[in-house]
């Protein structure tokens, strides 16, 4: 049985590899000059005064696509929350305060504010420089967890009221939808970037609705990561199964 399975895997893998190599041979060469979509995206982004073309693609030209991505994110987090809730046959055990080596503690508490501010900066400058809601949100949320390294789990739980983050996750999703609907009410298409003036190129308030959608995504990603990590940490550190179950 096992041997048969390995053979099947080898045959399937070889076939897949052959097909992939054949496909690679037919792709346009690496580093070629022809990028019709890219060129048009750059033009559209410049026309709407967004310096970072990638943000323009994500939050303006393909904002509808980002709505889908955001729903996947939201649904995945919701699934984790449901799967990792405390079951009836489990109980919580407070972990004892752990000893933290002094250099680790000092370093973590020193880096924490810097990392947090960096994350927020990356979110805020998404339409200008590399970065945006997706990256900055993850940075800010993981930065918060340096507190777990520097102090202990209890300290982290005190600065992280989970309900607030769960609410802000949902609020951010709603904000994105409301911004989309606002452009419908203004008489254009859903999520079309016509609501706000485009502003001066290369300033914080440029790009029309791009900074707003970007901020909504940043808030959503940050709270989603905090909620996810909170539930995994709960499982790993606090929740114990009842004996004899």
């Amino acid at each position: 049985m096992n041997r048969l399975r390995l053979w099947l895997l080898a045959v399937g893998g070889a076939g897949l590899a052959a097909l992939l190599v054949a496909a690679c041979l037919d792709l346009p060469g690496f580093g070629g000059r022809r990028h019709p979509y890219g060129d048009r995206a750059v033009q559209a982004s410049l026309a709407r005064h967004t310096a970072n073309t990638i943000s323009s693609v994500n939050f303006d030209q393909r904002a509808y696509d980002t709505l889908g991505e955001m729903s996947i994110l939201f649904a995945a987090v919701l699934g984790c929350v449901v799967l990792l809730r405390q079951a009836r046959d489990e109980h919580r055990d407070r972990p004892e305060p752990a000893e933290v080596a002094r250099p680790v503690r000092r370093y973590a508490l020193l880096v924490l504010p810097v990392a947090l501010v960096t994350g927020l900066y990356v979110v805020a400058h998404g339409q200008l420089s590399p970065g945006g809601g997706f990256q900055g949100g993850v940075v800010a949320a993981t930065a918060l967890h340096l507190l777990y390294l520097g102090a202990d789990y209890g300290a982290l739980e005190r600065v992280r009221p989970l309900g607030v983050y769960e609410t802000s996750d949902a609020v951010a999703v709603c904000a994105y939808l409301v911004l989309g609907l606002a452009s419908v009410l203004a008489g254009t298409a859903f999520l079309a970037n016509t609501l706000l003036p485009y502003g001066t190129f290369n300033t914080l308030s440029s790009g029309g609705t791009v900074p707003l959608l970007n901020a909504a995504i940043g808030m959503e990603v940050a709270s989603a990561v905090v909620v996810l990590l909170a539930h995994f940490l709960d499982q790993a550190v606090e929740i114990e199964e009842e004996q004899g179950s």
């Binding site: 945006g132 993850v138 967890h145 990561v225 790993a236």
Partner: protein, 86 residues
């Protein structure tokens, strides 16, 4: 010049991906995955995609390995009797 850098980083990524698959212990695999995350971030940067590199650095080298580690810890703790649990 930049071509040579790209080739070197590509080969490093391939080698590290192999290592991540061959390493059967999930806890060690998480470490290899985090190295893979850093290598991918470097690759994306030389491919002129700083946005994606930043994202990969935050997610691939910190978030995913951390989740895997927490999962491993939970399952190990379950497997052990209560006396020496920690």
């Amino acid at each position: 010049m930049s071509d040579a850098v790209i080739v070197v980083v590509l080969l490093l990524v391939a080698a590290c991906a192999t290592a991540a698959v061959v390493q059967r212990d999930p806890a060690r695999q998480a470490l290899v995955l985090s190295v893979l995350g850093v290598l991918l971030a470097a690759l994306f940067t030389v491919l002129q995609a700083p946005d994606v590199g930043l994202s990969q650095l935050a997610v691939g080298s910190a978030l995913t390995p951390l989740l895997i580690m927490l999962c491993v810890r939970k399952i190990r703790r379950r497997g052990r009797p209560k006396e020496d649990a920690r």
